[in-house]
């Protein structure tokens, strides 16, 4: 059954038991993103210590793909430097744009993507790519805001 290529066990696990869900303090910035097509929503908080992502927490509503994606992302990025995290984010974005070549791309970039390789099968479902990307885009946005605030000396 093809479906398993999208709904990897690891995705379903994260969906059923999401990590880092629930908003936490402290945080440097918070954003709210919506996927207009299906109404999925996420509120995303990011905290920084120097240039390290010290925390990510979120509240969200949506399909298994968008839920699991937020959970896997938080696992992956917490503790990474902003630069490393950005590389992961960009690689994940490219994975989602790889269409039928998802599995090969994931294999090639497994070191960077770690558990996020589980989403390789989503890339071939154009209708679901936006679900997988929702929290990553929110994280990118929140991190950019947190850095802006830090640079301009504002404390959140």
């Amino acid at each position: 059954m093809q479906l398993e290529s999208m709904y990897q066990e690891i995705i379903l696990d994260h969906y059923r038991h999401p990590h880092h869900k629930g908003l936490r303090e402290p945080f440097a910035s918070q954003v709210h993103h919506v996927n207009p097509t299906c109404g999925d929503e996420v509120t995303m908080r990011v905290d920084l210590k120097g240039d390290v992502i010290s925390d990510i927490s979120y509240e969200s509503q949506g399909c298994s793909i968008s839920q699991a994606s937020a959970s896997v992302m938080a696992d992956l990025l917490i503790g990474k430097s902003v630069e490393q995290a950005r590389e992961v984010q960009e690689t994940f974005l490219r994975l989602m744009q790889s269409k039928l070549d998802g599995p090969e791309f994931a294999e090639e970039h497994e070191e960077v993507l770690e558990d996020a390789v589980a989403f390789a099968g989503v890339a071939k479902y154009p209708g679901r790519v936006k679900c997988a990307l929702l929290s990553w885009m929110a994280w990118k946005d929140a991190t950019a805001q947190a850095l802006d605030d830090t640079e301009s000396g504002v404390k959140a």
Partner: protein
């Protein structure tokens, strides 16, 4: 509306629809339950298009060569068919647009531009409902905003019916136009047109009916309905994409200003000033969707061949069966009327906590095509506090076996997500 619930001979009908013979995901037969989004076309409609381009294609009107005369006769012949199909008082009242949305925008714009007594003025009120398709919300928001008019709307009851409790307050002396969906594409509700028309005309307001989900599914008599404008769309009634219909009362269409300007819609043009053609050409600027209109005529022939009362009867029967079977599915909640009175053949539901995207994805894997999302009626989702629904919608070729397949599919969905 009295309908006689009785199944059609779908074995025979389905033979006419090539796409229904198709399999998906390897060898899964297609179970097409997305008819409210778009319907499929029978071979007869496809053949009409082929024949048009292979034998008769020419620009219509004005031409005096053979092809132009043939194309014009076919095009205007299709107008006669559509006029008869909805029992229009005159063929000139049938205007071809590109879809329902253009038809609704046309009315919203020309009422914005019109002189008294029809023109919408600052402070005037426009009434719609919370169960409108976005195509019957946004045009009125745009017109209201441009003019400084006020947009108001009917609410929805918990059962998914139009909340008429404030009818007389909502439609009042300040109301210029009431624009309402005949059958909701998300809830399946059939709205009480008569009640609305009566009240609207009492206060001198015009009534626009969005019949996108009714014209394909039940006998439509625009004169009996009493509305002033009726909009519908070809691709939901076995016809091709690229064509819609605006029916309007002749005296109104004659008096209102033009919408789009250009070839075909003029009487005479000087650089300084133009005068406009008579109906229906006044509202058909540029080369019309010729092949599409002609093919819509064939779709109408096909529907007449079955009989619209029979189509409605079949859908009533299948909806009855589907409502029953779906309500046996544990954790399933119907969004919209759960009973079959005044109800069309689109059924929205949520399944426990499983997001509709996940429901739709698993169903698709089993060959079952449903639509998930807000169905261009987001305010309905907001009203019911849900992000989206899964919607199964039926048509004249839908079978009880397809309902069974859907119900089995939903069991698979639950298994898959372990609930």
């Amino acid at each position: 509306m009295v309908v006689n619930p009785q199944f059609l001979d779908t074995d025979a009908i389905r033979k006419d629809f090539p796409i229904l013979q198709r399999t998906v995901h390897g060898d899964k037969p297609l179970v097409y339950l997305d008819n409210a989004a778009t319907s499929q076309s029978p071979q007869q409609v496809i053949d009409t298009i082929v024949e048009y381009y292979s034998l008769h294609n020419a620009n219509v009107h004005r031409g005096i060569h053979v092809l132009a005369e043939e194309a014009t006769a076919l095009y205007e012949g299709a107008r006669d068919k559509v006029a008869a199909f909805i029992n229009a008082g005159a063929r000139e009242e049938v205007v071809f647009t590109k879809n329902s949305s253009e038809a609704l925008n046309l009315v919203a714009n020309v009422l914005g531009w019109a002189e008294a007594p029809y023109g919408i003025r600052p402070g005037d009120e426009i009434v719609i409902s919370e169960m409108e398709h976005h195509s019957n919300i946004v045009p009125w928001q745009l017109t209201a905003e441009r003019i400084g008019a006020k947009l108001r709307w009917f609410g929805i009851t918990d059962e998914g019916r139009l909340d008429l409790s404030n009818l007389n307050e909502l439609i009042n002396e300040r109301t210029k136009v009431v624009s309402l969906v005949h059958v909701s594409n998300i809830l399946g509700t059939v709205n009480p047109v008569e009640t609305i028309v009566k009240r609207a005309h009492e206060v001198g307001a015009l009534v626009v009916l969005d019949a996108s989900q009714s014209a394909p599914h039940l006998p439509l008599d625009v004169q009996a309905l009493g509305a002033d404008f009726v909009a519908f769309t070809g691709h939901k009634m076995l016809g091709p994409t690229g064509v819609g219909v605006l029916w309007g009362r002749r005296d109104l269409l004659e008096e209102l200003p033009p919408f789009l300007g250009g070839g075909e819609m003029i009487q005479t043009v000087t650089m300084e000033k133009s005068t406009y053609a008579g109906l229906p050409h006044k509202y058909e600027a540029g080369t019309p969707p010729i092949a599409e209109v002609i093919a819509l005529g064939t779709a109408v022939d096909y529907l007449n061949g079955i009989g619209m009362d029979k189509v409605a009867g079949h859908e009533h029967a299948i909806t009855e069966y589907a409502l029953g079977r779906l309500q046996e599915v544990e954790g399933l909640r119907i969004i919209g009327p759960a009973t079959n009175e005044d109800r069309g053949a689109a059924i929205s539901f949520v399944l426990g906590d499983i997001h509709p995207h996940d429901v739709g994805q698993v169903l698709d894997e089993h060959g079952i095509a449903v639509r998930v999302g807000h169905h261009c009626a987001r305010p309905v989702c907001v009203r019911f506090g849900i992000p989206a629904t899964t919607r199964a919608s039926f048509y004249l070729y839908s079978t009880p076996a397809e309902v069974d397949a859907l119900v089995e599919g939903l069991d698979q969905v639950k298994q898959f997500f372990g609930v």
